[in-house]
């Protein structure tokens, strides 16, 4: 919304400068996005008249004019499409200066002498750009200094209006708040209406067939109007407020809409068949052409203003091409109505239209302002276009909208805001905003004005009081109340710990968009796409991710391409899948996912250079399981022959916490990664639900540990885990721990054989062990290993 300083000051004497007003508007809740200052410099600018105008050959759009500027006639080259002989213009003579600071000189353009420039509003700094040069009214005196007619400066504020304030879409509405804030008297505006004998009721008949959608419809007539341009200062004001001047009658409707917030429409009475207007819903599929020459197929919820034959306007949105004001229009029917916001919004949305009119009706206009605005319209049409104003109105108001009565307890303002407000000030503020206040007891009754449909409840009035009296009056208080509200969400706490653990393990935390689109031949196989959205932002964001692993692999590939080939990445995020119909909480889970590729140790002057592998991944998982005190974690690996690549599941308690694995080079090659990539993705809720909460210290052993190393050769296919269970079974309960310290495969050991060396630790809680006991245990282990796995001692 563009607001003019001058226009506002017609209703209230503004107590601040144009620069300061921007701040005032901000403090009233209007966000000022830009301030435009119009202050024309009219030195050496005069009124002229084009005597001759001829296109210059070889140019697209330039004309050579002979322009009379008082005593002399100058050759002036002009590029405007509306330059024509007989037109009165504004001529910038040599020495004048454009708004952009360019000094006009005599010049040669395309071989033609030019002694100045014919000006548009933009060049004079009068208004934003407008097609072509200024077309002066015929009665402006040629040769007169332009300052005589155009010395008109103003400041215009481009403000953002919040959707709850329809009244702010008008100068009156904003001026009213300024007057309330500064406690200034209101300057009412009145338009003189000279009605003739003939009555509007004899001129047009109205029927409201859809009273819910159209609670009030008022018309009046003006006959014998002469269509012409509106007075220039009106055109200038419209231009500055972002509306293109068209003709006196149309300009009246726009002018009063900007002033009062009431959208208006003017019909050419000739094109209202049978002089009858019916406000009715469209027939399904009924076609209608709006005055922007677009044809619409209407639905039965779209409200039409129709004559006896067809639609003549799309109610509250746009007039029809068939009944618009033309150059030869003489008899005008003014429409001033109140349309229901919901209906206007629905039609505007379904037709994809948003007009100055629809934006106002959608937010809610003031139905009780209608007669005043209609009278003003008639008066201005007569003032700018002549003719006779028919007497009276045709006012159909089947469902009067009455002011809302609000029970108001003034002390509630202090209770909610935390600072005392004077009751007399409260009453004054509300009254100035247009409320009727009965403040006889502690329970007041406040009637909210119909131009403020946002005021419905006590709290809405409190907001008004605080806003108008100033948000800067709200103190800053620090509460000293004790509020114990429980612990952070358990998954949030676990997530923080997981982050700490992985960062300590040298992982970099990533955050990536959780929306993606799978690329089946490029992404690793077997990953779920996720949940498809109905209206993706772009095609690349069709799904809420089913797993973050493929997106992470893409990120890894991008890093690879830049030469970063040693990557340890992790992300805590959410993954999505279809869940229970009514419960979105079942549609997602929080996960931690990681990728591991490249060297085992960071490159340095003394580190070995071998790549990391599946067992580096297992270390990370073991570390995570330990540090999170997971209850009975089991890092279970699948049989390679069944699955095809190294992978497994992290199981905790009875639940599966997630998957891990190693994508072989062939898989990663699709993304130009020439290495295998280890990965994991774990469900944080499952981890959080399976943590040991209790811990008790174990007494230190009182007797020394006895240990032995064993090295056996056996079939490559025997898993270490089986070996361990055989060892444990054979060793008896003195065996404390078993772990491998060397594993290797070599043909020197025999085809398909491997060597496994492991350390065994024995301990008796009550006494020292003697060597013979341990040797006996070792002997039974060796025997058992031979029997069960054909393992030979090395």
């Amino acid at each position: 919304m563009l607001l003019s300083y001058k226009w506002l000051s017609e209703f209230v004497t503004l107590p601040v400068s144009p620069e300061q007003l921007a701040d005032v508007l901000t403090w009233l809740g209007l966000e000022v996005e830009a301030v435009h200052t119009y202050a024309p410099n009219l030195d050496n600018v005069v009124i002229g008249e084009i005597l001759e105008c001829a296109p210059i050959e070889g140019t697209n759009h330039l004309s050579l004019t002979k322009t009379r500027v008082g005593g002399e006639t100058l050759s002036i080259v002009c590029g405007a499409p509306n330059a024509r002989a007989g037109l009165k213009v504004v001529a910038m003579l040599a020495g004048s200066k454009t708004a952009e600071g360019m000094v006009i000189k005599k010049a040669k353009l395309r071989g033609q002498e030019s002694h100045g420039m014919l000006a548009s509003e933009q060049e004079l700094g009068l208004a934003p750009s407008h097609a072509g040069i200024i077309e002066c009214p015929a009665d402006w005196e040629v040769g007169a200094p332009a300052a005589k007619y155009l010395q008109d400066s103003d400041t215009v504020y481009d403000v953002e209006i919040t959707p709850n304030r329809p009244d702010f879409l008008s100068h009156i509405g904003v001026a009213r708040d300024i007057a309330a804030k500064f406690k200034l008297p209101w300057k009412p505006k009145s338009y003189d209406l000279n009605e003739c004998v003939r009555k509007s009721t004899d001129f047009v008949r109205v029927k409201i067939s859809a009273p819910v959608a159209c609670p009030r419809y008022l018309t009046r007539g003006v006959t014998g109007v002469k269509i012409a341009p509106a007075p220039y200062e009106v055109q200038l004001r419209l231009l500055r407020c972002g509306v293109r001047p068209i003709s006196n009658v149309v300009d009246v409707t726009n002018y009063l809409m900007l002033e009062t917030g009431q959208p208006l429409h003017a019909f050419d009475a000739r094109y209202i068949a049978d002089n009858s207007i019916d406000i009715r819903f469209a027939g399904a599929g009924e076609s209608f052409v709006t005055l922007d020459e677009k044809e619409h197929k209407l639905q039965s919820h779209d409200l039409l203003i129709a004559d006896s034959k067809h639609g003549i306007a799309l109610a509250g949105i746009m007039g029809g091409l068939n009944s618009e004001i033309r150059e030869d229009t003489t008899d005008v029917v003014i429409e001033c109505a109140y349309f229901d916001p919901v209906h206007v919004r629905r039609t505007a949305k379904s037709l994809g239209m948003s007009t100055d009119s629809s934006r106002r009706f959608e937010r809610g206009c003031d139905p009780n302002q209608v007669p005043y605005v209609a009278a003003a319209t008639a008066a201005l049409i007569q003032q700018w276009g002549g003719g006779e104003v028919l007497s009276g109105v045709v006012d159909d108001y089947p469902r009067p909208i009455v002011p809302v009565e609000i029970a108001f307890r003034p002390e509630k303002t202090e209770a909610l805001i935390g600072v005392q407000y004077d009751f007399a000030e409260i009453e004054d503020t509300l009254t100035r905003l247009g409320c009727e206040v009965s403040a006889h007891s502690s329970a007041w009754t406040v009637k909210a004005p119909t131009h403020r449909p946002d005021l419905e409840r006590e709290v809405d009035l409190i907001e008004e009081i605080v806003r108008v009296q100033g948000y800067d009056q709200i103190p800053t208080s620090e509460s000293s109340k004790v509020v114990l509200t429980g612990k952070d969400d358990p998954v949030v706490r676990l997530r923080r710990q997981v982050e700490d653990i992985l960062v300590a393990q040298g992982f970099l935390q990533t955050v990536s968009l959780s929306m993606w689109n799978p690329e089946p031949r490029l992404d690793p196989p077997g990953l779920p796409a996720g949940v498809e959205v109905a209206n993706p932002v772009t095609d690349e964001m069709k799904y809420l991710q089913g797993s973050v692993l493929a997106p992470m692999l893409r990120a890894a590939a991008a890093n690879f391409e830049r030469g970063d080939r040693d990557l340890r990445l992790f992300e805590t995020t959410r993954v999505f899948r279809e869940g229970v119909a009514g419960d979105p909480r079942t549609w997602e889970k929080q996960v931690v996912a990681g990728l591991l590729v490249g060297r085992r140790y960071p490159s340095g002057w003394s580190q070995t250079k071998e790549p990391s592998d599946f067992f580096d991944l297992k270390s990370v998982l073991e570390f995570l399981a330990l540090k999170l005190s997971l209850d009975k974690p089991d890092i279970f690996c699948y049989d390679l022959d069944t699955v095809g690549f190294l992978s497994g599941q992290l199981r905790v308690g009875e639940q599966v916490a997630g998957d891990f694995g190693l994508w072989p080079r062939e898989v990663c090659a699709a993304r130009d990664i020439d290495a295998s990539v280890a990965w994991f993705e774990l469900d944080l809720s499952v981890l959080a639900a399976n943590r040991r909460s209790e811990f008790a210290f174990e007494p230190l052993p009182r007797f020394p540990i006895a240990w032995r190393d064993l090295s056996v050769v056996l079939d490559h296919s025997v898993p270490f885990a089986e070996l361990v269970s055989t060892v444990r079974g054979a060793a008896g309960n003195l065996l404390q721990s078993v772990w491998p310290f060397d594993v290797f495969v070599s043909d020197k050991l025999g085809v398909g054989k491997k060597s496994v060396a492991f350390r065994l630790e024995f301990l008796h809680p009550e006494r020292s062990l003697d060597a013979a006991e341990v040797d006996a245990a070792i002997q039974s282990i060796v025997t058992k290993l031979q029997q069960e796995h054909s393992a030979e001692l090395r």
Binding site: T26, P163, E478, M515, V533, M552
Partner: protein
């Protein structure tokens, strides 16, 4: 006596330092530190010292002996033939270990949750896929509000909404719990914005809520001021601008003085000296009623702020995409942070 001690200290120290091999060092040692050496000689004179002075002089002698013995030990190590183990280039860096890093959003998020945690706000969490009921209806969003449009908000084909703010968590929490409620809800939110330098269809928010008996807008202002002082420095100032949010009434837009130019005007604050931080206000009675709280008994405040923008301001990150690109050259720069 004091002078003698000091003189002997200088003399002996000099002799120990200038001994050029182990034999020479041994001789110096014998001269000063043996049982019949010069230091022992001084100890013998202790008996003659005035009784009042004696403990002090005794302490000085002990110190002298200790210092010279340390120096002797150091010199012995230095003069001994060195083992191979020590024959290294000490200017080489350490062997190195993988260095992890927290994402800048985590760094900022944790700082924020820490500050609010100290003010008694608990972290609450909720789903990113939401019911329209929680994301809009119960937040008092009017049916016509543009934020509901498919052009602004991502929906699933079944009508679920991908949450546009973290306030649904507040409603879910209030439904489960009686007042007092004092929570913050950090998390990812989604809007149908095309990605550019300052917009991303996914970004991060922290929203806060406090509902109790007698909560006032002055407390809201006090809470936010205390928070921003902790985050941006004690000289930070705060102002409320009137605004409209369906969730709150009255509503305020929160501005703080620009911490980058100390409110003198700079490119970051566009020379206004103020930075817009987010919305806030008193929880609308409709919202309280909707979760079964009696607005005649309880009142509350709510506020929100954008984490991505704070992180970008904080670290001078010019483009929001850098946050979501997983570029390790970017991520590694944050390895010096260990947030709480």
């Amino acid at each position: 006596m004091r002078d003698e001690i000091s003189k002997l200290r200088d003399e002996a120290a000099e002799a120990l330092r200038s001994a050029s091999d182990l034999t020479a060092l041994e001789q110096v040692s014998v001269k000063y530190l043996s049982r019949k050496g010069l230091v022992a000689g001084l100890f013998k004179q202790l008996g003659k010292v005035d009784a009042a002075e004696r403990p002090i002089i005794g302490q000085l002698l002990n110190d002298l002996k200790q210092q010279l013995e340390n120096l002797e030990a150091e010199r012995t190590l230095a003069l001994k033939p060195r083992s191979k183990e020590f024959d290294v280039d000490t200017t080489l860096p350490g062997r190195g270990t993988w260095i992890g890093s927290y994402h800048p959003l985590t760094i900022v998020m944790r700082e924020i949750t820490d500050i609010f945690g100290r003010m008694g706000f608990r972290v609450a969490d909720g789903p990113e896929i939401e019911l329209v009921k929680y994301n809009f209806d119960m937040l008092n969003t009017p049916p016509w509000h543009p934020s509901r449009d498919e052009s602004d908000t991502i929906y699933l084909p079944n009508g679920f909404v991908v949450r546009t703010e973290t306030s649904p968590v507040q409603v879910r929490t209030m439904e489960k719990q009686d007042p007092p409620v004092r929570i913050i809800s950090p998390g990812r939110v989604y809007r149908r914005d095309r990605p550019d330098a300052t917009h991303s269809p996914m970004f991060h928010q922290v929203e806060g809520l406090y509902v109790d008996k007698g909560v006032t807008m002055a407390e809201l202002k006090g809470t936010l001021l205390a928070f921003y002082k902790e985050l941006f420095g004690q000289d930070t100032k705060l102002r409320f601008r009137p605004h409209f949010f369906p969730f709150t009434e009255p509503s305020a837009e929160v501005d703080i003085t620009c911490p980058f130019c100390k409110a003198e005007g700079c490119r970051i604050c566009k020379y206004t000296t103020w930075l817009e931080m987010g919305g806030s206000g008193m929880v609308d009675p409709n919202v309280l009623q909707g979760v079964g709280y009696d607005p005649e008994i309880y009142s509350g405040f709510a506020f929100g702020l954008g984490i991505d923008r704070i992180a970008m301001l904080r670290f001078g990150i010019p483009n929001i995409r850098l946050l979501f690109d997983s570029d390790v050259r970017f991520l590694r720069q944050f390895s010096g942070f260990t947030p709480r």
